[in-house]
Each structure stands twice: as C-alpha cells, then as structure tokens.
Symmetry: C2
Subunit: 385 residues, 2 copies
C-alpha cells in the first residue's frame, strides 16, 4: 500500500464514522428532547406474531405509551392504527416497511385507518392541482397499498378531497387549537398559506382522532406510527384528545429509510435516484443499487483493514428494512463490519433479494382479491354536531 | 324656561349633533378609505321593481361594481347574490331589511345563496357547541328567512356543518391565500384559533365564489351585500376570483340598523334590549320601543325650539328601514327635524307599525308554502378536483 492511499482512505473512513455518529446522536437527541421512550426496553413484550418486522429491528426507535397498545393486543381488544400517506409520488420501499407493520398490526386486532392526504400534497405545492394527486392516489397508490394484504373489514382508506366530512370534524376540533400553539409547534416556514395552517393544525388532528368518534365505536387506544419530524402532530393530538375526553394516542417513531445516495437523507419519492419504487423494473432497480453509496471505503485493502459501517450503508439497510431472515441480516452485518463482504457481492445479493421482493409485490397487486371500493371509508360524520 | 334647563338642553342637543356627525364621518371615511363608490350616483338607474327598499333609501351607502349587476338585471340574465348569516341568535329587524332586498333581487333574476354559518358562530365562541347553533339554524332561523318569500328554484341555503363539501372547496382556495395577507386584512384579535383563521381566510371566500363553480353554471356576476366590517372578505374574494378566472364579485355596503338604546351601536341579537326579534311578542316590542333612545332632547320646550335629529333616532330608523310608504317616512322626517312630532306619538305610531309588520311576518311563517328541505343545497362539489 502506498502512503498516499492510506491517508486518503483514513480520511474517508473518518468521514463515514462521523456520519454514523451524527445519525445516532440525531435520533437519540430527538428522543430525549421529545420525552419519548426507548423501544429496546419494550421489545421483549412483543407478541409472537411479530417474528419479523420493524418492531424488532432498530427501525422503530422510540415510542410513547406503546404499552397501552400491547395490553389491548394481549387482551384481544380492538384498537386503531392511523397512518396517513402523502400521494406526491408512487410508493417506494420507504413505505413498504410501514405497510407491512400495519398489516401485521391488523392481524392482531387493529382497525387500520389510512388517509391519503392529497390535500396536503396540494397545499404544500408538491403538485399543481388536487386532481393530479387524486389520480395518483387512486391509480397508483391504492392498488399498491392493498397488496400488503389488508382485509376490507378492518381497513378504512379515504382520499381527503373525496371525504370532506373530515373537514367538518377538523372545524369542530379547530376551536381547541390556538394559533400561537400551532406557530410554535410547526414554525412559520411550513405555514405559508391558509391551507397549510388548517391542514397541519386541525385536519391532521382530525385524521388521528377520527377512530375515536362515536361513528367508529367511540374512544379507543390508537397508535400513530410517524417519522420523527411528525412528532409535533401527535403531541397536539394528545392535547386535544384530553380536552375531548378521548384517549391520547400512542406513538411509534420510525427511522427514515435512507436515500440510496446519501445516508443522511431519506428515501424520497420526488428524487428517483434516492428511492426504489414498488413499480420500478428490474434493470432500473439493479442500476440504482449498483450506483448506491456504501459504508465501505473505496480502497479494498483499506476496507479489509478498517472494516465497513453497515449502519450508514443504504444497501445494507435495504436488507435490514425488508429481509425477513434475521440470521442472514445479522450475519451480513457482522461480515460487513469486519470487512469480509465485497461491496459488489453485497450489491448483487441485495439486488436479487429486492427484485424478488418487489416481483412478489407486483404479483399480489395484479391478482388482488378485493375491489378498491371495498376499502374506502364512506361513513358520514355527525356525532360532533 | 329656567336658565338651568336651557343650558342642560343645549348640552344634550350638542351631544346628539356630535353623534350625527360621527356617524356620517364614519361611513364617509370608510367608503373613501376602501375605494367604494357612492350609492347616490347609481340610484337613478335602479329598475322600477325597487319601488321600495334599502337600495333607494340611504341604507345601502356604497358599492363596488354594482353597475355590473344592474346590466345583468336589465338584460334579464342570471346573476347570483350571496349573503351569509351567523346563527348566534334568532333573526331580528336588522336582518329583515337584508332579506327583503334579497327577495327583491331574486324577483329580477338573482340566484340567492344563503350560507348559515354555524361553524363561524362556533369557532368564534358565540355558542358552546356546533349542535346549539345548528338547532338554532333549522328550528328558528330558516323558517323566518323563508317567510320573506323566496322561491325554492332560485334559493340555495346550506347550514355549514351539514354541507362539508364547501370545506373541500375552501381547501382548494386556501393555497392561493397567504397567511400574511390574512393577518394584515383581519388582524390578530379575530384570528385566535385555527378555525377562525381558516374560516375567515378560506371558508368565507368559498361561500362567496361557490355560485361560480361549474356545478352552478360557471363564472357569473355575483353580488355580496355586507356590513362595512365585512369589506375585507370581499376584497380577498375579488383577488382570488382573478387568480381563478372567475368574475370578481360586486359589493353593496349596508348601514347597520342601530341599537334601540345606542345610535352608535348596532342592533345585536346577543343583546335583547338593542333589538326587536321577529319572534318577539307585542308587549315586548312595545316596551322596547317605549324605552328606546331618540333624536330629541328631553325637554319638550327645548325640542320644539331646536328640532330633533331623526338620523340618529333608532325609533325613526325602524320606519326608515322597514316602512314601505316613502311619503310617510319623508313627512315624519321633516316634522321630526322641525320638532313638530311628539316622541310619545312617534313611539306609538312606530310600535303600531312594527307590531303589524312582525305580525304579518309571523303569519307568513305559520302558513309557509314550501318545506324547508326544498331550499337546502345538496349539490356535491367536485369541479375543482
């Protein structure tokens, strides 16, 4: 090894270590700042149905009163899960992990509510019209969601612009939400127009508290899986719930699945190079994975000497987020950390797995058992009048 | 006359003159400040159908592009009138003048839209629940409105909480409404909670622009009769209309009918001593009028000497706002100004007239021709999707 290569590799390695440190510190600091509970302490109490999934890996990193939900699962009582989706682009792998978790939770008793927030997409200026995000919702997103195996009896999906009753409920809630609270929780930059203000302050809270309306059986424990940036909504919803004698919702904080090209950014539907879509073809997927960032330095000798950092590797995270085989994931992690697995091998193996995973998903989409309409929420809302 | 009485009367008279001056200055300054046009210049062009009404008296004091509406009336083309009503209390005489004008406008071609804004009543904290203002709307307000003689074919009434489609339209509009515009137009004190913000910025605009949606025949001239305090809504609606290629609505500014006990306050449904309700009984009405403030000084001799000021007299204004006989109103004004009509006579004559006026209204209410349901707007809204 030449001296110059050593130094360059050492600098590269230190950069990657620094990324790892920043990511760990970020999630830890956010959890502490927001008074969230550590997920590790509760994993032992998870029911056996969760042989796989985000709940057991380090993907769900923190929670708020998830114990309440576990009790209801153990007692086989009904609870609700609410998880909204912004239809600005087709689904990608960053969504898949969430929907697998929702489908699992449904199997142990959850009523699953999925608002497709095409109004948010619109007021945030991510599409030029409500119509564009509405078509995206029905034509591309709903079929892909349903392929995760939801049952029509326990699934309540609504495209916001087609379910204006939710706005009536939001108006009802809005009286309890002061503008100064909203401004301090969300910050001025995300409250530019009147719709963003109402959406973030009241409409999102209406989505979270909807399952507790009399129309849906009244107050019940409700679980809200979110990214850490959405934590303020849950806080606000918990405040309002107390004022309305509803049960303050529980929360799971899910790590962002990383961008394929930047471990510190998230996989984003609006940036195709960062994401693998559930509708990508095989060639596209293999090319994206081939070009992906990794946790290994570029010099092979230096990688063998230092080892790699799978925690910051978007390719390894594809396995961590989606591969069911715990043993294989753990073994890959160890070999990667020791510098024993070649990046080309890792990328090939991951490409094969992801192509299979997405191929299976496409097959389910093409052979779907129930019509979309059987999942759509149509209940008129009036119990707050 | 004792000297002491003279001085006291002179002071009293000057106070009343000062009130007259303040009221004139107020409306004049508001019209100038807001760039409104003087109503007097346009009265000659009013169609003959308006033999009576607020449009010919000094009750409608200013306008914005009312010419546009007059053209459509002359050409017998369809136009729309929108006038919302806050159901915080039963209707009083302050509303009657407006509804008579709406019914007249309907006879010359207007499609009349009446949003009953029980959501505003609620977010402004004027009632404790949406339910209270909703019941008020259906049980007391709607029957009283319909007695003014509206036809079901050209009348579109909706109670806000029961027509959530309007909120979907408001969300659509809200993207065009920046928060900073809203704050500067309405001021922080009326934007305390999230609902007030959304209501004033977007929902009210949705009500004004609703008749121009494709569901109702697309863009058309629309007339908005308002109190001067509501002028900012019309301004905002005109801005948004231009952005959406709709026709900026025209405006009529209507003077407030004065409180019975204070010429500088308005008749208010939440203060029974200030108002005569359409459901008051005769004894109550006569008692209220007997106790009312007048434009005459209390010393009879001084009144005969100075004359009275009918412009600031809530009792005379009852005649001015509601009595159809132009000659009798003009004659009463002259005699009052000269100090020739006794206040007890004025009050008796006005009581007789108002009891008759309201008695006729009650008869129409009790013998209404059409069921309320035939006036309710049920059209689903989707043309903006």
């Amino acid at each position: 090894m030449k001296k110059s290569i050593d130094e360059k590799s050492a600098i590269e390695y230190e950069k990657k270590r620094a990324i790892q440190k920043r990511l760990e510190d970020y999630y830890c600091a956010q959890s502490v700042k927001n008074g969230l509970s550590d997920m590790r302490k509760i994993k032992a109490y998870l029911p056996n149905e969760y042989s796989f999934g985000a709940l057991k890996r380090d993907i769900v990193i923190a929670h708020l009163e998830f114990e309440k939900i576990l009790t209801f699962i153990a007692e086989k009582k009904e609870f609700a899960v609410v998880s909204g989706l912004n239809p600005s682009s087709p689904l990608h792998l960053g969504h898949a992990c969430l929907f697998e978790m929702l489908a699992d939770l449904q199997k142990v008793g959850a009523q699953v509510y999925i608002p497709i927030t095409n109004d948010e997409t619109y007021v945030d200026g991510k599409v030029e019209s409500l119509q564009v995000s509405r078509r995206m919702a029905y034509e591309k997103i709903l079929p892909d969601i349903l392929s995760f195996g939801f049952s029509p009896e326990k699934t309540h999906i609504y495209v916001m612009s087609d379910y204006p009753d939710i706005y009536g409920f939001a108006m009802y809630l809005s009286k309890y939400i002061t503008l100064s609270d909203v401004q301090s929780l969300f910050g001025a930059e995300s409250l530019q127009n009147s719709g963003q203000m109402f959406y973030r302050s009241a409409v999102q809270i209406a989505q979270i508290l909807l399952p507790q309306l009399r129309e849906f059986g009244g107050p019940k424990p409700t679980l809200i899986p979110v990214g850490i940036d959405q934590h303020p909504y849950v806080l606000l919803a918990r405040d309002i719930a107390k004022k309305l004698k509803m049960i303050p919702p529980s929360e799971l904080v899910i790590k962002f699945q990383p961008s394929l090209v930047d471990p510190e950014a998230k996989m984003s539907g609006s940036k195709p190079e960062t994401a693998i879509y559930l509708r990508d073809d095989e060639t596209t997927m293999r090319t994206k994975i081939k070009k992906a960032y990794t946790g290994a330095v570029s010099s092979l000798d230096a990688y063998r000497e230092f080892g790699g950092i799978p925690d910051i590797c978007p390719v390894f995270q594809l396995l961590n987020f989606h591969l069911a085989d715990d043993g294989l994931v753990a073994d890959t992690y160890t070999r990667y950390a020791k510098g024993e697995i070649m990046m080309s091998d890792l990328k090939n193996m991951t490409s094969d797995f992801i192509c299979g995973y997405i191929g299976d998903h496409k097959n389910r989409t093409n052979n779907s058992q129930y019509p979309i309409d059987s999942f759509l929420l149509k209940q008129k809302l009036s119990s707050f009048l």
